[in-house]
Subunit: 187 residues, 2 copies
DNA sequence: GTCTATATGCAGATAGAC
DNA sequence: GTCTATCTGCATATAGAC
């Protein structure tokens, strides 16, 4: 069952992923989700920031789950990460290079303007890095190396998303996948 | 001599780097630059998109020059790239983690909404990657490996900027610098 | 829970005086 | 070249009926 509240949240994260925070209006969210217009402030009385916070958290946690599942399913370390980034670029490609990174744009836009949204973005990035770190340590890296590499991998992926979305091709992100495979198999 | 036109351009790229495209209003640009209000549409008759295009190009080319200079000045390959990223994080830090990457935010925001701005962002990223590629080839990498690594390095840097701005610390970008040093000295 | 109507403000852009 | 005034539209948010 999909409640009105859930439809609003799903539409919000999708639109914000594609357009960013400022460019996404509440009217557009209502319209696109086909939700009753009066419901938005009923479910999210604190307005756009509250709505965004919840949407970002939900989208971030969905990625976390997919990430954990994929990294655990593959025994080989390099292939585990390579495969995960391949999956991301698949998602990017099948959306016409519009979707890619539910946090990326919003995190940048709100870093210095909305403490509330910034907080949840920090939290999500930390969660992802922790998942990476744990998998790297399990794959044989020392605690220290794993922690540093986790941040680096996170950065490479986010940057790959920027380049792919700007160039309207999955190629940059696929190159990131290839380089990560090399990096993790040689070390 | 700083003309009115130049002041408007400089203020635009600075504000957009910190706040993004949508969040930066023309009124704010006028106000902050201390420019005569009537001048904006005199110098940039095609409006916000034209202004942004020129501001992004100017800022991107400034980075290109600094990049070329720094990469050429250091003989050791790993240190050349490491030092350049260190310099970026220095810039980020001294702006209170607000500035960092004149393209990053704007490139994401306008990727699917303004062909004109998107075009110049693509152009600038290509230019940077070409500079990286040439330096990597000069440092001993094959043509093919250099091209692929150049994109990867570009991605890691842009992603490091996202993480640093989100977390309000230079640390992530500094970690990128460290990992790049490792990557380029072992291969 | 959902509706309509609306308050309020700022956005980008334009016109015309000087 | 610069200024002021203004058009038009959409943004977030709120009030109150049903």
């Amino acid at each position: 069952m999909t409640t009105t509240r859930e439809k609003i949240l799903a539409t919000t994260s999708q639109l914000m992923e594609a357009q960013g925070y400022s460019a996404t209006g509440l009217n557009q969210i209502i319209e696109e989700s086909g939700s009753p217009k009066g419901s938005l402030y009923y479910y999210f009385p604190e307005g756009k920031e509250q709505l965004t916070e919840e949407a970002i958290r939900q989208a971030g946690e969905m990625i976390s789950e997919q990430m954990t599942a994929m990294l655990d399913a593959e025994e080989n370390l390099a292939e585990a990460f390579g495969g995960f980034v391949d999956a991301l670029s698949q998602r990017l490609l099948s959306s016409g290079c519009r979707l890619g990174g539910p946090l990326t744009t919003v995190a940048l836009e709100t870093a210095n303007t909305s403490p509330r949204v910034n907080q949840v973005c920090q939290e999500m990035y930390r969660t992802w890095q922790e998942i990476f770190r744990a998998r790297l340590e399990r794959g044989g890296f020392s605690a220290e190396r794993a922690a540093s590499l986790a941040v680096f991998i996170n950065a490479a992926i986010e940057g790959g998303i920027i380049l792919s979305r700007t160039r309207h091709t999955a190629e940059p992100l696929l190159q990131v996948a290839r380089e990560l495979r090399l990096l993790l198999s040689t070390e």
